[in-house]
Amino acid sequence: MTPRDQWLHIDNYLAELRRCLPNMAVADREEIIREISAHIRESVEEPGSSIDEILKRLGSPEMIASQYGQEVLIRRASRGFSPVSILRATRELARRGLQGLALFLGALFGYASGAALLLTVILKPIFPRQIGLWIGPAVFQFGYHQPHPFDPVHEVLGRWYIPVAFWLAFCFVGCTTYGIRWCLRRFRHHRAFVAGSPVAQLAALL
């Protein structure tokens, strides 16, 4: 391999890394590229290593990028308010351990409940007699119900259904977002140094 080929090889590697890195601030991305290229330069100066070996030891650009990506996902979710980024981050954590799975299911439940309530708010003008807060013996139900003439279940909110259900949906989404953000921050700052690994789960048992 000529020196020119070698540098081409390195350039390709860095270009691939840049391509694989997730959507992040340009300065953060360039900082990563700068650090990895400093590592390669430093390694090249050590005697007895070929470029191929150096890049192989470093690992694939996809692997490095995905590890940065996981961190970015969690960091962004713990600072932002987007349900999408919170769901993505908790889904990532769910792969790492039981705590993460519980967090993901919690987020899913909270957002699904909020979304379902919002849907009933939208549908209320279309089905004014079927959508409401239905109360009867052992029944307490928000949403759709087809009333029968002898049904003991009756609707209690009437026109007030829309603001009440809207407010409730807002509460569900808001509480889930704040709750999960709080958990994510706790997770980041107080996690065991082997969080998510079998060792952490064993440690929790001991």
């Binding site: 990563i32 700068r34 650090e35 990895i36 400093a38 590592h39 330069r41 430093e42 390694s43 100066e45 030891r57 470093l58 690992g59 694939s60 692997m63 490095i64 590890q67 940065y68 996981q70 961190e71 960091r75 980041r188 700052h189 065991a192 140094f193 082997v194 969080a195 998510g196 690994s197 079998p198 060792v199 952490a200 064993l202 440690a203 001991l206």
Partner: protein
Amino acid sequence: MKLRPDSREPEKIQSAERWEQQIRKGALEMAALAALWPGRLYGLEIIRRFQDSSQLALAEGTIYPILSRLKDEGLLASEWVEAEAGHPRKYYWLTAAGRTRLQQMAETWTEFSRELARLIKPVMTTPAMTKRAIAAQEEEEVTK
């Protein structure tokens, strides 16, 4: 008739490898902090520290996302320094919070590994029971 190869075997090997990889990855965070205990180092020096002293061999690239996270958590600080070699190096060092955390980690780790070593000691010292011995024991229990 051709026998289908047992498809579970590779999975077993994979899960054992994954387990080992996760342990290494988990320990790497503490190892990176510990490598910086004596003073400031740049990425490649930290990696070389591992290779000299332990079995933390991993793809070298994995250390950088870990350093970035530790920095984000306020446990490390970093600075680019223009080196004599002609290109800059990014040096890392422990912050006060990092030192405290590392000490806590070291205590937890020592306690935890002592407990775990106690649990797995029989695995290393007494031989595993053979199938015949297990069958004999079961028979004995049945006759009782």
